[in-house]
Symmetry: C2
Subunit: 419 residues, 2 copies
């Protein structure tokens, strides 16, 4: 039996630790040259496979591969591109098989979220549907933490830590200024469908260090009156309060709060986030001085404040993917199984991809406090371990020494393909 | 001679390291009980002096004082309150003297920026103007880096590091997504008058790791056409680009770009930052996908990524303030003097307050590149050492273990005073 090569691609929005999964995968593959040949990475994700734009990871020195563990973003490029069903786009699947054949690829590793799990599932069925033998393994990645079965998703813990630390620091700041200046600070965070990331902001407050934090979840219909009443109460009691608002918060009309149809002085449509909308309400409704921030990409790229737990889990899932492939598995995804909360212990498990694809895990209702503005103890127990531990990157001249790979292209063997 | 007590207050916007100055000052004062009695801190800055709301720092355990070194924000509260001239507000100065007398205060330590230096100067003249003997020492603090004489200002180095790290991480993120998604990321940072903070974003690009970064300085009149041309060129060459924009950027009409007179669908005035304004131009002018963020307080509160250089300088200026007081100085400010660039070495100097008050240090013109969108090598040489080194706070349960002092009030001795 000839040794098969592997294909690896990063998919969807990148994170602080998706490259740690790549490191786990590539290091483990290199440790088994008798089982897996070279690993070809798709340049810009699955698009790289379709266009035969493959990266020769074998030409990178081991130390560069190791440095991926501490480098955020997608080292090989990612993309937002979902393969349609075999019926709707047989052409693309046939192209994939041509690429796999041409480069002797027998393993397909796909590192992404829910949509990617679906694509990976379809590839895993190519033996049945189009007769090409391939083992497809999905590696979980999403800051949205919405994949089912797995206890959490690599990428989420580090965003959670960034948001919790930021809310803590901003709260300390506002507390010291509130006497004569800003009384309310609002931070907008990601999470269009689920409030996992906003919930993490609640960790900045704890029993031994209470901070007046209001959380605005996408799961809770926004009620301006209730929100202003709570803000007013906090400011009267503590002198200040801080608000973490999910970008996906909607009003009673079902529309995103951020979608205010803003116009400039000339009547031209303008962009806006949800944070300034909330700030406006605080100004108009309570007359309080406010400040607001929008974390945007900073929150998911912040490898400098990554959760060690998250980094370790990201690496472990990448490693497990290779081990599962070597053990002969197809159409599975490594999962993170929580063993205990205190001390937090976990292990790597496995789930069939068919149970993951197209299933979204929402925040349990009992994670949100009764008034809709906070997290419950149950939520806290779930979240806290995920931000545990620090894992600082090395620094050079005051900045993190993130690696840029050479990303050498593999020679093309096929004709061009238009996507 | 009886031993005199000291008064200490934090003034203006807080920073990641103003408490490190407090630690340097309080630890040093405690080491000289034969020279300085208790140190009373003003609750919420100078307002605490006027209202006799004094904090007994002597009742804090030494370990709590030491923990200030790694805690951002103003531990005693700060305020934005500028004393008028003696002619315009003799009442407040007479009140200060009453407070000083009642609590046997002979040293006045004021920790702030330009306005505070002016207040401190006025207090230092009380012996001459109102016959009360006091030694007033100013401790520099401002993220704006605009105090004269001193090579840099404690507080700035850490903001600079935060902005440089954030721009590096965001640039890595966008680079991996640009093939099918976001091509331009815009980060809004502080700096209404001077572009020091925006300039620091340029450090994310270096000779051995070029990143296509555009800097929008408040010193350079914004030219939309030139900006879009540069963005277009970068995106064509690199596939993406990132923009760091100072909140103080103005157009040819002299108005802040952020002041767009935004209205919601009902015609109500809305808030906006400058980042979404720039994003709008990128969308309308180039049709490129964008993302934008606003750091706001996060940048100046981010003790988790503070510059070690900055922390050491903040501590050293607090320490020097006490040493100068003990040596009999009045009306001075410790400065940071740069000895060499490479390796970076520095020492503490001293300047008369009269040379600091009401003087603003702007960015030198030769720190901005010819096209107005970048920093020169000279600027880089100046900035780089200021972000050197890391100084991580201790962590507990995944979050920085920042200290909250007891802030016990000193018993009042005088009648109430309305400010």
């Amino acid at each position: 039996m000839t040794i098969k090569n592997a294909f690896y691609a990063q998919s969807g929005g990148v994170t602080a630790v998706i490259n740690a999964s790549a490191a786990g995968l590539l290091e483990t593959a290199r440790a088994h040259p008798d089982k897996i040949g070279n690993v070809y990475a798709g340049r810009n994700g699955i698009i790289g496979a379709l266009t035969e734009d493959l990266i020769d990871t074998g030409s990178e020195p081991l130390e560069a591969i190791r440095a991926l563990r501490h480098t955020p973003s997608g080292a090989f490029g990612s993309c937002r591109y979902k393969l349609k069903s075999l019926e709707d786009n047989r052409r693309e699947y046939e192209r994939l098989i041509k690429i796999f054949k041409a480069h002797n690829i027998g393993y397909f590793f796909y590192n992404g979220g829910g949509d990617s799990a679906d694509t990976c599932l379809k590839v895993s069925q190519l033996a049945d549907t189009l007769g090409y033998p391939i083992q497809a393994i999905h590696i979980p990645k999403t800051v949205d933490n919405d994949l089912p079965v797995t206890d959490c998703c690599p990428g989420f813990g580090s965003v959670a830590k960034y948001v919790a630390v930021s809310m803590l620091e901003a709260s300390f700041d506002v507390a010291s200024m509130a006497k004569t200046s800003t009384k309310v600070f609002i931070l907008e965070v990601m999470g269009r469908h689920a409030g996992w990331i906003a919930a993490a902001g609640g960790l900045a407050s704890s029993k031994d260090r209470h901070v007046p934090i209001i959380i605005l979840f996408p799961e809770v219909t926004f009620d301006e009156e209730k929100f202003l009443a709570k803000t007013d109460r906090y400011v009267k009691e503590y002198g200040y309060c801080t608000v973490v608002v999910s970008e996906g918060v909607k009003g009673a009309d079902g529309k995103f709060l951020s979608d205010q149809g803003l116009r400039d002085a000339f009547g031209h449509a303008q962009l806006g986030g949800v944070a300034p909308v909330i700030a406006n309400m605080v100004r108009n409704g309570l007359g309080l001085k406010y400040h607001w921030g929008v974390s945007d990409y900073l929150q998911r790229a912040a490898r400098h404040i990554a959760s060690r737990t998250d980094v370790e889990q990201a690496y472990a899932t990448g490693k497990a993917a290779v081990e599962y492939a070597i053990a002969g598995y197809n159409s599975v995804m490594p999962t993170i199984e929580r063993i205990s909360n205190s001390p937090y212990t976990w292990k790597i498990g496995m789930v069939e991809l068919s149970k993951v694809a197209n299933v979204e895990k929402m925040m349990p209702a009992d994670f949100i406090s009764e008034d809709g503005f906070g997290i419950t103890d149950k939520c806290r127990e779930y979240l806290s371990p995920l931000i545990e531990g620090e894992d600082y990157p090395p620094y050079k001249n005051g900045l993190p020494d993130y690696i840029r790979l050479k990303n050498t292209a593999v020679a093309k063997k096929l004709a061009e393909f238009k996507i």
